[in-house]
């Protein structure tokens, strides 16, 4: 990586760390979980959206703290598990913990303000999230569930598009530097 690239991608860590109010950090994930739980019962099509995952990715990317990211993921994942029927606590918790950790790790190294980068990262982490969940379900729970690659890719693209839009909205909730 060149010096120009380093400056462009890494930049000044202190300047690029986003800060949010505590109530935003609490309410946005909670809203995403509630949306995930209740809205698909009314509009089933919206069940394809993984808003808790998008919230995890966004806050982990913008906080640029691995420990913070993994705790955000663990919190959102465990909350999602607690509201899911017949879902042992920890399945989404583990998956989103890892997503939050790696998203924060990526956010430390590259500039995540660009929409295209956000789109690609969201697409990638969605696929990673689904694959990791499939692996854990098979390995830990012994569930023989199929992993549909094409469907996952399409839904990943959908969630990435929605995520980029959502991220623009969430950017407005950041505290000014």
């Amino acid at each position: 990586m060149t010096d120009y690239g380093d400056r462009y991608l890494v930049g000044n860590q202190r300047e690029q760390v986003s800060r949010f109010r505590a109530r935003v950090m609490l309410l946005v994930p909670l809203a995403a979980i509630l949306f995930q739980v209740y809205v698909p019962r009314i509009i089933p099509v919206l069940g394809y959206l993984e808003l808790p995952l998008l919230a995890t990715i966004y806050f982990a990317l913008m906080r640029r703290s691995q420990i913070g990211g993994l705790f955000i993921g663990a919190f959102i994942g465990l909350a999602q598990d607690s509201l899911s029927i017949k879902q042992p606590l920890g399945m989404y918790g583990i998956v989103k913990t890892l997503v939050g950790y790696f998203a924060a790790s990526v956010g430390l190294r590259i500039d995540v303000e660009h929409s295209v980068i956000r789109l690609l990262l969201t697409f990638f982490f969605y696929f990673f999230h689904e694959f990791l969940y499939w692996v854990l379900a098979r390995g830990l729970l012994g569930r023989q569930i199929p992993f549909e690659v094409q469907r996952t890719l399409v839904l990943g693209l959908l969630n990435a598009v929605v995520g980029v839009t959502l991220f623009h909205f969430l950017d407005k909730l950041r505290e000014p530097a």
Binding site: A74, P88, L89, G90, G93, L98, L140, G142
Partner: protein, 411 residues
Amino acid sequence: MDTLLNRYRNITVLLLVIFAQLVLIAVQVRNDRDVRMVRIWSITAITPLARLLETVRSGTAGLFRNYILMHDAREDNRRLQAELDRLKMENQFLKTEISTADRAKALVAFQQRTQSRTIAARVIAAGAGANSKVVFLDRGSGAGVEKGMPVVTPDGIVGKVVAAYPTASEVMLVTDPEFAAGVVSQKNGVVGTLKGQGQSTCKVDYLPSEEKVEVGEMFFTSGDDRIFPKGFPVGVVRVVRPSSPYQEVLVEPSGLQHGLEAVLIVLEGVHQAIPELPPPNAPIYLGTPPPPAPGEQGVQPAGPVGTDADKLLRKYRQIGAAENHKFGEGAPGSKPPDFNLKIPPPGAEGSDAETPRQGDAENPPAQVSQPAATKPTSIPGPADGTKTGVAASPRRRVAASQTAPPPQPHQ
């Protein structure tokens, strides 16, 4: 240490959080046998470690135990060695007992088989001299034993009685230098005199150098010495050295090969035939040839196959059968058979009235090679093929069986 924790703080926290959630899952989830996953994982994680610890523990304990047990190994070794020696001696004794029993069994079988009247005896002592080739038997004159009687075993002759006491008898072995007996070779009938040499082998004297004696050939008693009946095995030829005028032949006595324990004293000897050697080309069964195709004239053999000696032997047997003469039984000076008697050759058409016609219904070709039937046989007439109904004489039956035509296809 502080720097190390700071350096890996993030990954450590990640692993702790993941581990905590894994434990959370394990506590909740049960497998299909209703066992919590945390128990399964715990056992799965602990078992290899426990196995490793047990292996180390047992190995260490075994090492110490073996070391302690080594103190008693010497005493155990001595005790086991003594037991092994005792068992070896016992085994040898039992083997000897079995061997003795086998010999006794063979002796009884031979005693029942031979035509001579014999009495069983056991060797109870050997001669006192260093080169003594005599033994003492536990049967004496009280049992009917007399001086000069032959002593044999199923394997061959042993010697002859040189002194008969009331309860025992003294036997001179065939290896004694003073021993002599008339012998004859099995293959060529060469007659000689067996003499002991004081060694393990005997020599056969008075064998002309032009007579053929082969190594490995058996010698039998000839009966000429009027001690040993004819037909008892003597020994195997081991050495043949050409010399003039008599060749030197050494024979290994077969009666002394397996040790002397039990023998037979021949009280009344009966001459018996020397067993013939098995023919070099033993007869084998040959099925009937397949019938030739229509219009094909099958080539049939003219007679039984064999060497010239076989043909000569068959011819002489035919002559003997035709003249009711049995070879080997004629007294000296009796009339010999007429060897110039004309025997019709096999397949001679019309040469003999007994020759059955080819394809005759009562003389099927498949039975041509079989011996002649002992019952009267209907023989077709010589010209018109009508059956005469005359019973064939033994001579005619033999001739018919020997001169039967080769099998012909049925028309």
